[in-house]
Amino acid sequence: MVVNSVHWFRKGLRLHDNPALQEALNGADTVRCVYILDPWFAGSAIVGVNRWRFLLESLEDLDTSLRKLNSRLFVVRGQPTDVFPRVFKEWNVTRLTFEYDSEPYGKERDAAIIKMAHEYGVETVVRNTHTLYSPDRIIEMNNHSPPLTFKRFQAIVNRLELPRKPLPTVTQEQMDRCRTQISDNHDERYGVPSLEELGFKSQGDRTHVWKGGETESMERLNKHLDRKAWVANFERPRITAQTLFASPTGLSPYLRFGCLSCRVFYYNLRDLYIKLRRRSSPPLSLFGQLLWREFFYTAGTNNPNFDRMEGNPICVQIPWDHNPEALAKWAEGRTGFPWIDAIMTQLRQEGWIHHLARHAVACFLTRGDLWISWESGMKVFEELLLDADWSVNAGSWMWLSCSAFFQQFFHCYCPVGFGRRTDPTGEYIRRYIPKLKDYPNRYIYEPWNAPESVQKAANCIVGVDYPKPMVNHAESSRLNIERMKQVYQQLSHYRGLSLLASVPTIQEEAEPPMSDDSQASSSTAGQGSTPPPSTPPNSEPSSPTAAAPGTHIQRKRGLPSELTSKQKTKVKHANQAKGVEQIIDEKQ
């Protein structure tokens, strides 16, 4: 029987460690690697030019690598539901392979495609390689619910065996066995589009800080490891101004797009540590960055409402303010706080900011100063940030705004002080807000406090050349800590005076055997299930009901939504199993 394979690239834009692609090649007569792109959607504001550019560069890189193997990348214009029937027929496809997408939207889309493939008699093969572990496995090990504290997550990961080892890259030999005819007009029909074609103005010859693609990612990985080896230190580095600037060894966008396999990164780090430290096993903290990513993927996989407050069972319902004007000032770097504005400028220009910078601007937008919903911030990051994908972005925003994951909210990042402590010389500000470059260190973080003479000497008058601060931080933070306290006290029914005790704790933080935690959920949050008659009744929709999973303060609402969606997932798997040869590799 003739086997004509199609490998569908979505994330996982690489040829190394790509088991799904390997499965496409395995015993196939022809293989075509496709990427499906709908240019019509490119115009939507939700994805900025830097992200498109990174993607296009990654696709170009794939195409170049495939050329070396006498193949090409097929960029097919359209939507998957339209494209696949067409190509199934045109290329006589018998096998479709792709990397597993754990996000709820991805699972839904893929289930539909798998069903359609089945109707066309196409075998589907899916492999889980975007994360180190299978999110479903971790959820299962945590009594069928995703860990909601990072420590809990780490405890479970500690019990797992090591992630599956990465596969080597596709070889010439493998490709030769399934050589596919490339038509003369391939570039016309299936070439990688340009930014102009997607509706963006020409970017000119500007060299960009973050260059997309697998090749670049491997170079960076080597530099990253070299630097670690040279420093011979795996501890947390001290933060300086330099840390804030884009690093030539930064890897987060490459992990997000899958240009770099997370397992390759994992094993390289691990092997380096063992070699240098001559110890048998590295601590989990070595993989901090990777594990945070895993944590959020796991937390979001069964929760289609993970990216919003309403209807999200793990999200505290906080009465955020709706203020588009203030949001725009924040998004465009016009808050009047140089630290915040510099960060948002770097974000817009380059597409990446350091995690401390993210904490600072997220806190400022939400619980620190502006009291605007984290969803708004999340959307801005989605547009501008190269490494923001659905799970990690939403999860981080919930974390940083203290909307989920049982975070203490007392720690407020000062938009003046935090910046100054991180970068006392103001180098970062001077780079991204050139207007302020002549301000002395003393005033560069708070130019509105500089005497007129200083402002004149620096050629930048506050209120004229640079905006006045949009809030009084002391007053805003006072108000907001009070708001947070009100919300949390209502949630935990805590009536005492301690600020720290207002936040409910979750038993799962403890390490004892997981079976004991089956009743886990929130110790204090669930106790209010029957409101005593003497408390004022609420109009139903606005009561803050962030219960831990499994507990619901108003049982009349029916099954917890994450339970229903999990059941849906189970049903989907059953469908998929019917008559479709599909192997989902879950033994991670």
């Binding site: 940083l400 933070s477 108000l479 005076l497 720290l500 008659p533």
Partner: protein
């Protein structure tokens, strides 16, 4: 449905719900031929209905009230209208739903004289604050025990014309005469309106929260303290605090104060704050030995001059901005009653000595939270060892702990857990 209604009409000529004895008789009756239970439901005694309805959220109760006349009557029983929280939100400024305007009208019409515990939650729009004042002005028949005006976002009450707000508020002050608890933080309340409050409610006032009320002067709050001898809980800004106030609260006629909350907020950098004499605090402590003093500081580092120079009976301390090592040292020296200490930020010099001193001298400390600070692991373990199991809340951001020759980051959580008697980890932030 139809069958039930007709049966009701057959059974009684007036109301379908008879008195308790009749209802009991009915409940005891066996099922009718078709096995229906429904007749029994409509004859439940009012006390049981009331009890059940009290457990239902408002919306469900409203649905229940549409079932039959009997339940509709139960819905309107005074006991169910003692407490109400008006939620006033505009779609343009809030994501939350608001109390339905028709419901508000109904309440004012039928239940305003039943209301006793009332709160208003308003969003950041002026219309919401206006709506709240509107309702307040109509509460003429009310004898409120509790009134709370709560801004859930930016304080919109402050944007109303002051006179408008004051006149609405004084309606309640004058008519209630038995106000026990009043929360009016972030409002334009002023001295004259406080006089009205005092004139009508001095015997009953127990709780007054008025942080960030810029139109009140120290004399205004002093008037309250002088007249309201039952005052047990008070929250205000530092600029209203005076030696006289503390002495008034400690006068013989006054009950024991339970809880005093003070917000110290800097309006402009370099602001000068007055100091309070130690003797005034001593008087407070003598009069109310168990009172809690909660202080929230939002100052620049160089504005702490007058604070913590002498012993002060503070129990809960929050530093919302950066506070210097030196001030934390003074806290250790002068706050023997300290129960909770929360520090947002300090700086890049380790707080080892200061923490040890706090462990030594603040024997009641049971909660500590540290944000952007630095503490060496060795000193931190020492601190925890000294405090031992009395530390029920230990919230330390991971970046605070600096590994030293004694402990690394991976080892520290075991050491600390050992001394605390429970599993402990520092607070983490995503490093993605």
């Amino acid at each position: 449905m139809k069958r039930r209604l007709s049966r009701e009409r057959e059974d009684s000529s007036t109301s379908s719900c008879a008195g308790p004895t009749d209802s009991c008789k009915r409940v005891k009756q066996p099922h009718d031929d078709s096995g229906e239970l429904m007749p029994h439901w409509t004859r439940l005694p009012q006390e049981i209905l009331l009890h059940i309805f009290q457990y239902l959220p408002l919306l469900d109760r409203a649905f229940a009230s549409e079932v039959c006349r009997c339940w509709n009557q139960a819905f309107h029983m005074p006991e169910l209208w003692r407490c109400f929280e008006f939620e006033l939100n505009q779609p343009a400024s809030s994501y939350l739903k608001a109390t339905h305007p028709d419901l508000i009208k109904q309440i004012i019409k039928r239940h305003s004289n039943h209301l006793q515990y009332v709160s208003f939650k308003v969003d950041s729009s002026t219309e919401s604050a206006e709506a709240a004042c509107d309702i307040l002005s109509q509460l003429v028949n009310c004898s409120l025990k509790t009134l709370g005006l709560i801004s859930t976002a930016r304080p919109s009450f402050m944007e109303l014309p002051k006179s408008h707000f004051i006149s609405a508020l004084t309606v309640v002050f004058v008519n209630s005469k038995s106000l026990s608890s009043l929360k009016i933080d972030d409002t334009p309340v002023d001295d004259p309106s406080l006089k009205v409050l005092v004139a009508n409610n001095s015997d009953t006032l127990k709780l007054l929260k008025m942080s960030s009320c810029p139109h009140v002067s120290p004399a205004g709050i002093l008037c309250v303290a002088d007249q309201c001898h039952g005052l047990r809980e008070l929250a205000l800004n530092y600029h209203l605090l005076s030696d006289d106030l503390l002495l008034a609260l400690s006068s013989e006629k006054h009950v024991h104060l339970e809880h005093l909350r003070i917000d110290v907020v800097s309006e402009n950098p370099g602001q000068q704050f007055h100091s309070i004499k130690k003797s005034s605090w001593d008087a407070m402590l003598r009069h109310s030995p168990n009172f809690s003093l909660v202080m929230y500081f939002f100052l620049y580092e160089d504005e702490f001059g007058p604070f913590f120079r002498d012993e002060i009976p503070v129990t809960h301390l929050y530093f919302g901005r950066s506070v210097s090592k030196e001030v934390l040292g003074r806290v250790g020296m002068n706050c023997p009653r300290l129960v909770e200490l929360v520090v947002c930020a300090n700086g890049l010099r380790p707080l080892d000595e200061e923490l040890i001193r706090i462990a030594e001298r603040c024997q009641h400390l049971s909660a500590i939270g540290l944000g952007e600070c630095e503490v060496s692991c060795g000193a931190f373990v020492e601190f925890v060892k000294m405090c031992g199991r009395r530390l029920s809340q230990l919230s330390i951001m991971e970046e605070v702990l600096i590994p030293d020759h004694k402990y690394s980051l991976d080892e520290i959580h075991w050491e600390v857990s050992k001394h605390l008697g429970r599993v402990w980890f520092p607070d983490m932030m995503p490093t993605w």
